[in-house]
Amino acid sequence: MLNIDNILKNVQKPSAYTGGELNSIVKNPDEVKIRYGFCFPDTYEVGMSHLGMKILYHVLNLRPDTWCERVFAPWIDMEEEMRKTSTPLFALESRESVRHFDFLGFTLQYEMSYTNILNMLDLAGVPLLSRDRGEGDPFVNAGGPCAYNPEPLAEVCDFFTMGEGEEVINELMDAYIEWKQEGGKRIDYLKKIAKIEGIYVPSLYDVEYNSDNTVKSFKPNCPEAKEKITKRIIKNLDTVTFPDKFIVPYTNIVHDRISIEVFRGCIRGCRFCQAGMIYRPVREKSYKTLTEDAIKLINSTGYEELSLCSLSTSDYTEFPLLATELLKVTEKEKIGLSLPSLRVDNFSLDLMEKVQKVRKTGLTFAPEAGTQRMRDVINKNVTEEDLLRSARLAFKGGWTTIKLYFMIGLPYETDEDILGIADLAHKVVEAYYEVSPNKKRPPSVNIGVSSFVPKPFTPFEWAGQNTREELRRKQQLLKNAITNRHVKYSYHESDVSVLEGIFARGDRRLNRVLIEANALGCKFDSWNETFSMEKWNQAFINAGVDPSFYVRERTYDDIFPWDFVDIGVTKEFLKKENEKAKDASTTPNCREKCSGCGANKLCEGGKCSVKI
């Protein structure tokens, strides 16, 4: 165990580095065959809030032969202390260096965490590039939503997992034990797992480029490597392993509560939304299993809040039943129930009354676009009347604060669509004065505007991304159009969005840029206090890569760097959706009518799991 007491005295949040929290798992290193470092490339507070990590930590530690520990990116102050004292990156449970762990598995939740991966490897003393690692070095791997386009990290990671990890991670561990017994070389393990469904080993593929830097061909270079990598899904959420214990941190984390997963996937096909496509098709957990999960977790953690976690909670087929069951539990245990991403209607307002008791603070809506035409383009099936009706309901019920989320820089957008955002916000203020029982109290309508980032595996994967100048112009246009003092406006920095877009649709050449960015000290790029666009510009120059290449509009003839990944949803479907977007023509949700996206092929017998 490393002695870190002295350096902890110099950092702001010592308890983010100490481990020993309730329900964390300590094993005897001599009794396990595999040491697995589950790495979250962000701070403890962010990483500990992530449900996927809790699930895989649990799944791995159920194996007597494996010890999975947590590893986070140390914050700036801690990193400084570690470097000063030559303290290597360590795992929280054992407080041992991860340098000779068998696996270091990163979860890729957002592109702007990629430099943290390099920085963590560097702190660990592990070679940054896959080709520089040798026998005895850990296998560096990654999974999570951003892994669906793994190419920007193809030279860093030894392999990637596509899709949901609960089953495949066990197959990977079994293969490792076998490989150890066989006494093979590093490459033998990689070839062995290349045969497992959902596993991508980048070094087993060669990419050729055209003179304009677009992809010419992408081919396996050995018989073990498959042409197409199909994502893994869990077919039955009621029988898959779910933790009965969560680690309970001492220090405050971002989401400090129990979260249970109501369903995976989303029936709505918003055309900008990557999550809505990559997690298809919808699979629900029964309300019975969910209630059991909740009770077990309350007993083992003592948490004071329970939260439902899924893309659009109201779409759960038996939502009223689930809500009633959970309310019974939470009232008895005197704990809070938080219900994010609810559609606002009479039922949900009533429910929110019950769970929130008194404090009627912010309600959130996400119309995403300002005009009906634009909402049809993105297939956000919400009308202005829907929104105003919900707002009136909420105002009548005594709410005074409403948050509205929008995007700018969407494909096929005009200035009229931008101005429509201000219009809509003004109408919400008017609605308040029409119906509020307490008009003396002023409303507060907060609009949050983010910049659209085209993502792979969406109908907008071909779209050109707005330049930062264009985004700034639109932000300004909107700002000037907001004339009502009850409307508050905030927006995301456009630099970060552009960079996010570059990596989202990036290719292998971006590995060089990452290496340069790491050398220049880029880290925590999703944090304002550490992000530096100057350093990034320099990194692109040093790597000899032109960033504007990645924001361009693509054609239907382009071979995408991520084309070899099969998410179930077909490219044909995405094309069709893009064409419909051009005509502002909408597509019904999965429950109204199946649109033949292709995801059904992942289900038992090819029959889609969406419940009608």
Partner: protein, 211 residues
């Protein structure tokens, strides 16, 4: 609602020493729920368990004598409560005993600490204690200020491998041993404490009755 007062004496050792005083409230709230201990809640919009601590403990200090005051809404025995606490405590926190009623925190006046560090010689220590004034920077409610801490040092003894310090504690005067160490480093010529570890041993009333 019925209310039965209790207090629990507990250790805070090992990795638990990094838990801040503020976080301890949250830690115990969750302990109560896990242990099915029917703790009394505050009234009002946002009810929370009503608990308090005899004396805050700094981060990085270990302790063998922490006291947490709480009450429950059912007539339970102290033994029963101890049994409910024991299996649900996090690593490093250990309940030593549960007692009915309230401890005499009103008269809390002294605290005994063991400090593990480079020790001064007995002559050096005697000379140090003979000083009539020791001025060092000290955290107060209004920021860090120079303060004379001499009158808050009741006694310092050399023990086997550590120094044992009896210091003023409580709401009127409160002196922590790391401040005393600062003074020793300043006033004892040629002495350097090095890295220190602190252990709170016991707390006393003004009549030196252990609380």
């Amino acid at each position: 609602m019925l209310k039965y007062d209790f207090y629990a004496r507990y250790r805070k050792m090992g990795r638990a020493k990094y838990i801040s005083h503020l976080d301890m409230v949250r830690v115990f709230n969750r302990v109560f729920r896990r242990g099915r201990i029917p703790v009394s809640y505050s009234e009002g919009f946002n009810p929370h368990p009503k608990i308090s601590f005899a004396l805050p403990l700094s981060v990085f200090y270990e302790s063998e004598c922490e006291i947490m005051l709480f009450s429950v809404t059912e007539d339970l025995s102290a033994d029963e409560l101890l049994n409910r606490f024991a299996p649900v405590m996090p690593e490093g926190l250990e309940i030593i005993e549960v007692k009915a009623g309230k401890p005499d925190v009103k008269h809390l006046s002294y605290c005994l600490y063991d400090v593990y560090c480079n020790l001064p010689s007995s002559d050096e220590l005697a000379a140090f204690l003979a000083l009539s004034s020791m001025v060092v920077p000290k955290k107060t409610k209004s920021g860090i200020k120079d303060a004379d801490i001499r009158c808050d040092i009741a006694d310092i003894k050399l023990e086997d491998g550590c120094m044992s310090m009896l210091l003023s504690a409580g709401s009127n005067a409160n002196l922590k041993p790391d401040v005393v160490i600062k003074a020793m480093n300043k006033y004892i010529n040629g002495y350097f404490s090095g890295d220190c570890e602190y252990l709170r041993k016991s707390i006393y009333t003004n009549d030196m009755v252990e609380i």
